[in-house]
Symmetry: C2
Subunit: 392 residues, 2 copies
Amino acid sequence: MKPEPATTTLPTRVLMGPGPSDVSRRVLAALARPTLGHLDPAYLEVMDDTARLLRAVFRTANRLTLAVPGTGSAGMEACVAGLVEEGDEVIVGVCGFFGNRLAEMAERHGARVHRVEAPWGETIDPGDIERALAAHPSVRLVGIVHAETSTGAHQPLEEISAVAHAAGALLLVDAVTSLGCVELEVDGWRVDACYSCSQKGLSCPPGLAPVTLSPDAEAKIRGRSAPADSWYLDLTLLSRYWGGERLYHHTASSNLGVALREALLMVSEEGLEARWARHRRHHLGLRAGLAAIGLGYIPRRSLPNLNAVHVPAGVDEAAVRRQLLDRHGIEIGAGLGPLRGRAWRIGLMGESCIAGNVVAVLAGLESILEEMGLPITPGAAVSAAGKVLATT
Amino acid sequence: MKPEPATTTLPTRVLMGPGPSDVSRRVLAALARPTLGHLDPAYLEVMDDTARLLRAVFRTANRLTLAVPGTGSAGMEACVAGLVEEGDEVIVGVCGFFGNRLAEMAERHGARVHRVEAPWGETIDPGDIERALAAHPSVRLVGIVHAETSTGAHQPLEEISAVAHAAGALLLVDAVTSLGCVELEVDGWRVDACYSCSQKGLSCPPGLAPVTLSPDAEAKIRGRSAPADSWYLDLTLLSRYWGGERLYHHTASSNLGVALREALLMVSEEGLEARWARHRRHHLGLRAGLAAIGLGYIPRRSLPNLNAVHVPAGVDEAAVRRQLLDRHGIEIGAGLGPLRGRAWRIGLMGESCIAGNVVAVLAGLESILEEMGLPITPGAAVSAAGKVLATT
């Protein structure tokens, strides 16, 4: 008989994939505090702190700001199930896996979806959204992915927000991979609904999805003719638990909630703008290192925190990832959809975004690719990255 | 300006409400292991272990056995969204808050629900289910709550299973408050779909919902004419991530997953039947103590692990709970729905189910009620409980 598994022998990884990112000892310690009841007065204070800290990181004054009890895709579904009614016409920008997920989810919740597409790796042209709005004047919701996790593309939002609002539509933004890493201005850019996750830019364990809704989006949800399709992800019910009423809805995972508050305190202590700058700085170092060993970026406008690069011709991408994991303890991500087998996605998010990790992943890639026979000058990548990191 | 909150000053409670229950240091340590990626080979092994250990605790050989990424109500919604199609006729037994939630959720997912009711505190008469099935021959699904968390009533399932299957219906069981505490035989009793939670009988933090489906229930889900209303809680998609295919669906909360495996290992080490016996034994002690201070049970057939008692006339129930919490550090639960203000719900679940807690909650109640002027003999409850605990 196989012996029972021992948790103490689980490996410790350096998380440099598309998420989760590394979680600090401080947040792990918060996670492991003795469990509190979901209606304990001490936990209700934790929730209030969390809502306040989330408003700061979303840059919003929105009342309805909370953590949905699930991952980023649960946040997506909570927003979609709330904002879409049967038969609604919706425009969704699709240039990667998660834009496609957003479009499919809107369809599952009864929307007639008009997809505005761009090739994987590109971003959506605001002019295309404007033309789609003109062609479909009943559209009252435009959905767009700020940080396309599958391609690393960084979507500008301000122009899209302007054309959406000019047409009387609300703007729904997927910030799963951007929140806490790159500039995002929910109020400044007039984003009406925005969802993210706990485990990337915020460096909290997975399991919670920060969500914020503007007063207009809240009014849309309150004015629905029928309740949302999903009970568990119904923002109306969730907001009654998060608000003053404290109406029991679900048994909140208080351990995750306490951990999220701690992760948000760490963002606040660092300063949001300093955090954005840290992500840019390390991205430039990584980028220089990757260039030195011939690894080119897939997107034209890359996110700093998610670096998607082409796998060199003839290289078994899964074997490289497996060796990085087994020999170096570093996790990076594979390609999704049409990029399967053709891309690596290297995350530099939150706690994982430090110089030591930039150097470690480059050193690992250098040695593995050289061993596979690629024309690599040992030390070239690390040296190129080091020069940039020393001067920025 | 208010100082930032300090996680280190959060209180430590004794959790004796309707859930969550206390979590052992061993499970909290597993929770706080460095985060693993949701596709890390080491984490995929954790998932396989979890599925195997869940089969043992559900007493089933069902292939489709997994943890839904949400609380018990997410497990409920995953089962309902999968098993109910628009217009399906469904029978639901309702004798408390959670039977009602199950009926409402089925309605939200398009079912025509026939409620078979009993007063709060009672259990559902299998004869009433049989008559409802005869009256509504198109019904192919019967939903019933095994442990009604709002009243503490313990529903026998075997006869209901027999009448449901005789009519060609599947049986859906809510085991949120029973799994790991009282006898439950998924295969032996022919339960087709069963959902529970992580934070009660299993003493893991909240945030995961164990679910198991029989081959017949799985066939029903595979044969749907349209996908489930919920994407996040779609058992078809979830089972492709838990199965050999490992298809990416959501970023699993690996910290919660590792903790759940550890909690299930502890159940396995104790032995499931020994665990059921432990819950019965401490229940008898608590019951004797409550009787000694005149606190009578609400349900006729009480669960051992959830003890719902009447609040004495004239007593401010919330004040008593608050004093138990503030002075004694013990959380117990309030009444829900029609029992609001009229019931206390005292949990003895998993790690919380120990003699020391039985004595502590009785001592606390004695002192608070005596101070409020009730005719209590100091020590009577503790002494009565002690006698029973010493002899069982």
